[in-house]
């Protein structure tokens, strides 16, 4: 027990320990954080109205979310194909439907687990338009110009790649890319193009919107963009 006049240097200790703990958390990685978030989940559920809904953050590259009018909306699928298609929303919904549950990873570090998607298998659509032998990649055009991205045909044919028009049992919401978005769970979110308006078969993959800004073209979750 120290005498009243005897001082201990505690303030700098609190400061340095907090800074060290914070910087250290970058190295401990996500495991500590996820443990921590488990401990605070009762608080989090109380605060739910003020938290990002379901863990999502909404990224747009322009000032507004592209509008969707069911009667005039079209999805053009063309380029190096034998049978180009222009699908209305109802025609898209009439294609064979698939459902899947997959995890969505954003390159900035957040993750949403167990998202229920409903839509069309991309490989199924590909078979319908019949790419020519010269086609090597798919170009995805967003109504949010100039957002654009590409997948090679083997990537586009992965078993869980889809064009999703439903999320968690309801039509895709505007902020998630209504009416339809690309879903490729093995790649980071910036490859999962929202507000799709066109798909072109091209000879080889070009450089997508975020790739032009330094992100990897093959955005494999956990194996790209500096993650190992």
């Amino acid at each position: 027990m120290s005498a009243p006049h005897e001082e201990k240097r505690i303030g700098r200790g609190v400061f340095l320990a907090t800074v060290a703990g914070g910087i250290g958390s970058l190295a401990f990685g996500k495991s500590v954080w996820s443990h921590f978030s488990g401990a605070v989940s009762p608080i989090a559920s109380t605060l739910a109205p003020f938290l990002p809904k379901g863990g999502w953050r909404i990224y747009t590259v322009t000032g507004s979310i592209p509008p969707f009018d069911r009667s005039t909306w079209r999805l053009d699928v063309g380029g190096l194909v034998d049978h180009p298609m222009t699908l209305s929303y109802d025609e898209l919904r009439a294609l064979p439907r698939v459902n899947q549950i997959s995890t969505f990873h954003c390159v900035t570090g957040w993750t949403v687990k167990n998202v229920h998607w409903g839509g069309v298998r991309l490989s199924d659509l590909m078979d319908r338009v019949a790419p020519t032998s010269y086609a090597g990649a798919m170009q995805f055009l967003s109504a949010e110009t100039p957002y654009i991205d590409y997948l090679s045909l083997p990537e586009a044919r992965l078993h869980d790649v889809m064009l999703a028009y439903e999320m968690n049992g309801e039509p895709l919401r505007p902020e998630h890319g209504a009416p339809v978005r690309l879903v490729i769970p093995d790649m980071y979110g910036y490859k999962n193009v929202k507000w799709l308006k066109g798909i072109n078969l091209v000879h080889e993959a070009g450089i997508g919107y975020w790739e032009a800004l330094g992100y990897d073209r093959d955005a494999w979750v956990g194996r790209s963009n500096g993650y190992t």
Partner: protein
């Protein structure tokens, strides 16, 4: 007649208010980036992101500049006061009384240390998020979690601080010290008796 004691210098008050205004602006722009409902309402993510970043850089730079150009010696003295905990401070934290306090009570000292640490961490994680967009070596999976976690922690401190400074009857007189710079002598004797004694009361 009420007599007043000077509690905070002009430099200290300027630092406090620049810190407060910067924090609220960062909180507002940060929440637009963080909460989907606000992101949808405001959109223009790129613009908001730039405003948030430059405000953060400006926030820290302004505080450093005030500290350098203002009353440096006074600030160093204040830093030493905030750093040192005596036996009374430990008693105060254990809720044992009497525990006469100096110009800052033990809670205020801890609050100051935490806020200073949060500022450093906000800056580091913010810079990593910004430059991580261009350089993969600066990209860590938990940077965004650290930045968000700091926001929650800082918010908890802020709510407590606002309650004590504006609402709680026993302590809200201290707001005068941070606006006009002076506090009522009687209040000082009651809440910060060691400091009041040093001032010759």
């Amino acid at each position: 007649m009420t007599r007043y004691l000077r509690r905070f210098s002009r430099t200290e008050r300027l630092i406090h208010w620049v810190n407060a205004i910067g924090f609220f602006f960062l909180l507002a722009t940060g929440l637009i980036l963080y909460l989907p409902s606000l992101s949808i309402l405001v959109a223009r993510r790129q613009l908001i992101q730039e405003m948030h970043f430059w405000c953060g850089v400006g926030w820290v730079s302004a505080l450093v500049l005030i500290a350098l150009l203002g009353d440096r010696r006074g600030l160093l003295r204040t830093a030493r006061e905030l750093d040192g905990f005596d036996g009374d401070d430990f008693r105060w934290l254990r809720r044992e009384r009497p525990a006469p306090q100096g110009r800052f009570n033990a809670g205020q000292k801890i609050n100051a240390s935490l806020n200073a640490a949060f500022m450093v961490l906000f800056l580091v994680s913010g810079l990593l998020l910004w430059f991580g967009e261009q350089n993969t070596r600066l990209r860590f999976a938990s940077t965004v979690l650290l930045h968000d976690g700091l926001m929650y922690a800082a918010l908890v401190l802020l709510v407590g601080h606002l309650y004590l400074a504006v609402i709680h009857p026993a302590t809200r007189h201290s707001l005068r010290g941070m606006t006009l710079g002076t506090v009522d002598e009687r209040w000082a004797r009651e809440h910060h008796s060691k400091w009041a004694e040093e001032q010759g009361l």
